[in-house]
Symmetry: C2
Subunit: 149 residues, 2 copies
DNA sequence: TATTGTTATACTCTATAACTATA
DNA sequence: TATAGTTATAGAGTATAACAATA
């Protein structure tokens, strides 16, 4: 027998570990992000807009959250002048959301926070393990419809 | 240049991906767990008890949640007859929490749910990538004080 | 009638603080 | 006084449903 996992055990389960570590990573990311006035969900939205601007309902689909949550996030990001609502002239129901120069700057700062966090999070791994982890997570993200750059 | 990541991008960032994928994994785990009346946090507690029975305050420390949250979780698990509170006879302030036979059965079912989810979550990865991912997550979990079996 | 965005509301999960019973 | 557990309450973060404007 090679594995250490016992029959009825959940430790060592990838979904289980992912859930716990995701919580840890998100909390740490949130703590540091607070310094620049953002929360993780704002980054998901900004990142999605950077890939391609779109309207609010489409953002809800992309981020897999309720439309009312997008309203809230866009309100907050508009207050930070990171995004701008632009009414579609051809279908006036649609609100297009655009990234501003400020938004791009904020996203850049968030990316730096993320890189710093990665260095700490992956400190115990070898260079090879880091690459393998990054690749594996990228594949899973892509398979689940998340943006992968 | 080997990487595809652009300068100001967060996609490809491990902490960022971990946060999003952790949310996805947790939500799916929660959905399926509902069929057997459990939520993810119940599994963390049951898993911790399986490793070693203890009192409520120690569980709060182990799981890194507030003591009041443990009260709630133990209430719910007692209703399911998955655990039993046993008053410590030597220090009557302490409530020891024990896993029952029912609790063991439930944990076994939860483990099956976790294994099934893993198969789907890792479907796109090669056997080698799966092992590498499992190992890397285990190392990070251990480095952050989480149980690793 | 259907769709986009919005508001109102409620639910889940968690933390903090006040309380009780024991020590 | 201090500790283990409990209760009450409040804060995030989310979802659902009803609504207004537009199609």
């Amino acid at each position: 027998m090679m594995g250490m996992n016992e029959e009825g055990s959940l430790t060592g389960n990838v979904g289980f570990l992912l859930g716990k570590l995701g919580q840890v990573a998100s909390n740490r990311f949130a703590e540091r992000l607070a310094a620049i006035g953002l929360r993780p969900r704002h980054c998901w939205l900004l990142e999605s807009l950077r890939a391609a601007p779109t309207n609010q309902l489409d953002l809800a689909r992309r981020l897999d959250v309720a439309p009312s949550v997008v309203v809230d996030m866009v309100d907050e990001l508009e207050r930070l002048e990171a995004v701008r609502r632009v009414r579609d002239t051809r279908d006036r129901r649609r609100q297009y959301v655009e990234l501003t120069a400020t938004g791009r700057t904020l996203l850049g700062r968030a990316a730096r926070v993320g890189r710093d966090l990665d260095v700490e999070l992956l400190a115990e791994l070898s260079a090879r393990q880091r690459t393998a982890l990054r690749d594996a997570l990228g594949v899973i993200a892509a398979a689940n419809g998340l943006p992968t750059g």
